[in-house]
């Protein structure tokens, strides 16, 4: 049995207990149960943990956190009509992004996700510039035009499966994505 630290029960606030190994054998039940612990054994914590006071999330110490949930689901009438994804759009997305919406479940999942994102339409964004990323108010660093990198051909070529005389080898053109029927046949025997 390993030594473990207990989360404090209600009577012992903010204090972590360490139960020495030998005492486990005295417990009538499995050491993980702490129901009767506080009444039977009083172990004082080690000195180093007396200085730390851990805040419990259930205690209302942090006023920013509301006690009960405050969000409400957006009513359906405020949302735009649900987006239906036609089959050719699905094929096009699969070809462009190389993701697989193989089953009807995948498609249903996508439509649900779109529906969830539709809730953003409720927010009024007139006059507000769209945000690209949280870093958009940072200063873009401008580098001086001096050579710092390069000349690591051997290292890069080692990463490739096939190389010819310091060139990377690729197929003659883009290999088109196989059609849906062929794909299901190909993936039937794979682990995906």
């Amino acid at each position: 049995m390993s030594v473990f630290s207990l989360a404090a029960s209600r009577t012992f606030r903010g204090v972590s207990l360490k139960i020495p190994r030998m005492l486990f054998s005295l417990l009538p039940n499995d050491g993980y149960s702490i129901t009767n612990l506080h009444s039977k054994i009083i172990i004082w914590p080690q000195s180093h943990s007396a200085n730390t006071t851990r805040l419990l999330s259930s205690q209302p110490l942090n006023q920013k956190i509301p006690k009960v949930a405050t969000w409400e689901p957006v009513p359906e009438d405020q949302l735009p009509p649900p987006a239906h994804i036609p089959a050719d759009l699905v094929d096009k997305l699969e070809r462009l992004a190389l993701v697989d919406f193989r089953t009807k479940q995948g498609l249903a999942c996508l439509e649900e996700a779109i529906r969830f994102a539709d809730q953003l339409h409720v927010v009024d964004t007139t006059g507000v510039e769209p945000m690209d990323s949280v870093l958009e108010d940072r200063v873009l660093y401008l580098r001086e035009d001096a050579v710092m990198e390069g000349d690591c051909a051997e290292k890069l070529l080692q990463l490739s499966k096939s190389t010819v005389e310091e060139y990377f080898v690729a197929p003659p053109g883009n290999i088109p994505l196989p059609k849906r029927e062929e794909r299901t046949a190909m993936l039937k025997n794979s682990e995906f």
């Binding site: 873009l140 660093y141 580098r143 710092m148 990463l159 310091e166 053109g173």
Partner: protein, 548 residues
């Protein structure tokens, strides 16, 4: 490293050049004449077509490789030829965990180009990702500026030599929609023998300026003149070396045809154009092809075609699967690029080498070609078309000015020699000015001889030819060797003129009865006698006296 270079070049010799991979188009291609149709002249009338003729509409997309030491987003060097994959950093190979770091020199180059083309420079510009799959784009996307580029709304003013004698300078404008910074992709060498493509990432990540032009042009000649002007501007600024054959300036043409007043027709994109001459030919061929297709009742397809310089035709390219959807998205790793107007608007405490100030760049702009042309016309009093020819040819302005320094002759007289004689000979043998066998001082000496009356102008041309054939011999030497000095001895001239007058009584009679033009025939005879060495002014005077 050296051994692998040799091996690689041997390998390259066995691999075909990047060639058009698909078989010739199925429709019969009509042979097109090599002379380009004069676009300011009327197109030939077709028998059964509508009253209005189809005219071409050409828009250009130009990618100019920025002349910097390192790439746009990584610190790897930029060089034209180097062992394959030796100028590649981890970011260029898009290994995971690498991030782009913008090159200040590339930003300055783009701002300089924008200012030279009268663009509005956007104080804030954003970077985006353009996604497409190809083996020479390891990341699967290219960082470009599509939403908010660095410069917009500019004008490129170029001049065409037109008119009947090609000596009228016509000024035209092309609107530049935007200038944006973007990454270059790697180079792919197609090996058809082994059915594979070899990828070299040396070029991947190099900074490019993409100049998008509105479709304001109507034929190959205009497009060629516009690109030449742009080449001169970029070379003067030093932002791009403008060498089309080395791939530093890549031009793709969007060509369509329509009847004036009607909406624009379906456009095709023409790629693989390696020089300005091929650009004009490719565009003219494509316009003609589209006109033929429409007049046979077919429709032009929106496709990408490659120009084959050997046959002079455009052929459809394979590997373009329908209309591409690039799924543009903002680049999350790069905050917006902020440019400052002048030093006064800089926020306090900012590092000076971290900012690009537009005012400073504007003040540091070198002399642009159009300004240079006007200056030459002002300083030397030469005609605009001559100054146009001077600036158009690399090194010719310096040659001209060197000749002027060494001779007292008037610039207007020298210019004819430089633009007609010298340039004509250079073009005939496809040489550049720096390869000219006649140095500026030698030409100056020849002109001095002519000016001081030692030789006549026709003899001067002869001596020029001789100097061209045997470089190293001075004009004086040749004149003395071949005894081409002007004959100004009046007694000798008198006797020769008398001989001619006596042997042609009919002509003398014609002159006396009023036909003065016959005098020229007599002059020609005298010149033949003296082997062209007689002073024409004296001969004319003597003959006139004798025949009056």
């Amino acid at each position: 490293m050296a051994a692998s270079c040799v091996a690689a070049s041997e390998l390259l010799n066995n691999i075909k050049q990047i060639s058009v991979l698909c078989p010739k188009a199925s429709y019969a291609v009509r042979a097109v004449s090599t002379s380009s149709p004069q676009c300011h002249a009327q197109l030939p009338q077709r028998a059964r077509s509508a009253p209005q003729q189809l005219v071409g509409v050409v828009g250009l997309e130009i990618h100019a490789q920025i002349n910097s030491s390192t790439k746009l987003f990584s610190g790897a060097p930029v060089r034209f030829s180097a062992p394959p994959n030796s100028l590649v950093s981890f970011f260029d190979a898009s290994l995971p965990g690498t991030l782009p770091v913008l090159n200040k020199r590339c930003v300055e180059a783009a701002v300089m180009t924008g200012l030279a083309l009268n663009c509005a420079i956007n104080r804030k510009s954003l970077f985006d990702r353009k996604h497409y799959f190809y083996a020479d784009l390891p990341a699967g996307y290219q960082i470009t500026q599509q939403r908010l580029p660095i410069a917009v709304d500019g004008v490129l003013t170029y001049s065409l030599l037109g008119g009947k004698k090609r000596n009228q300078v016509m000024r035209k404008n092309v609107t530049i929609k935007q200038i944006q910074l973007e990454q270059d992709s790697g180079k792919s060498l197609h090996d058809d023998v082994r059915s594979q493509t070899l990828i070299d990432l040396n070029r991947a990540g190099v900074g490019l300026m993409e100049l998008v032009m509105e479709p304001d042009m109507s034929c190959g000649e205009e497009a060629a003149a516009a690109v030449r002007e742009l080449q001169l501007i970029l070379q003067a600024l030093g932002t791009c070396q403008g060498n089309m054959s080395e791939g530093q300036l890549r031009v793709d043409a969007n060509v369509s045809v329509h009847r004036p007043g009607e909406p624009l027709g379906v456009r095709t994109e023409v790629k693989n154009i390696n020089s300005i001459r091929y650009l004009a030919r490719a565009i003219d061929y494509e316009i003609q092809r589209q006109i033929d297709v429409l007049q046979r009742g077919g429709t032009v397809q929106n496709e990408t075609r490659a120009y084959d310089s050997k046959s002079g035709e455009t052929l459809p390219m394979r590997d373009k699967e329908g209309l591409q959807d690039y799924r543009f998205m903002p680049e999350p790793n790069l905050p917006p690029l902020i440019l400052y107007e002048d030093n006064a608007s800089l926020p306090t405490g900012i590092d000076a080498c971290q900012v690009v100030v537009v005012q400073k760049i504007k003040e540091g702009l070198p002399e642009l070609p159009s300004v240079k042309r006007d200056r030459l016309v002002q300083t030397y009093g030469i005609l605009p078309e001559h100054s146009f020819t001077l600036v158009n040819e690399d090194g010719l302005v310096d040659y001209f000015e060197a000749v002027l320094k060494a001779t007292k002759k008037e610039p207007r007289k020298v210019i004819g020699w430089v633009t007609n004689e010298l340039l004509g000979h250079l073009k005939q043998q496809d040489m550049s000015v720096c390869q000219s066998p006649i140095s500026p001082s030698a030409l100056a000496e020849l002109l001095e001889l002519q000016e001081t009356g030692h030789i006549s102008s026709s003899v001067a041309k002869q001596v020029f030819q001789e100097m061209w054939r045997s470089p190293g011999k001075t004009a004086l030497q040749i004149t003395q060797e071949q005894d081409l000095g002007l004959v100004s001895d009046t007694a000798q001239l008198h006797s020769i003129c008398q001989k001619v007058v006596d042997s042609h009584p009919d002509e003398v009679h014609a002159i006396r009865s009023g036909n003065k033009k016959v005098l020229n025939k007599l002059m020609g005879l005298v010149q033949k006698e003296t082997k062209g060495r007689a002073d024409p002014v004296l001969v004319r005077a003597i003959l006139q006296k004798k025949t009056s």
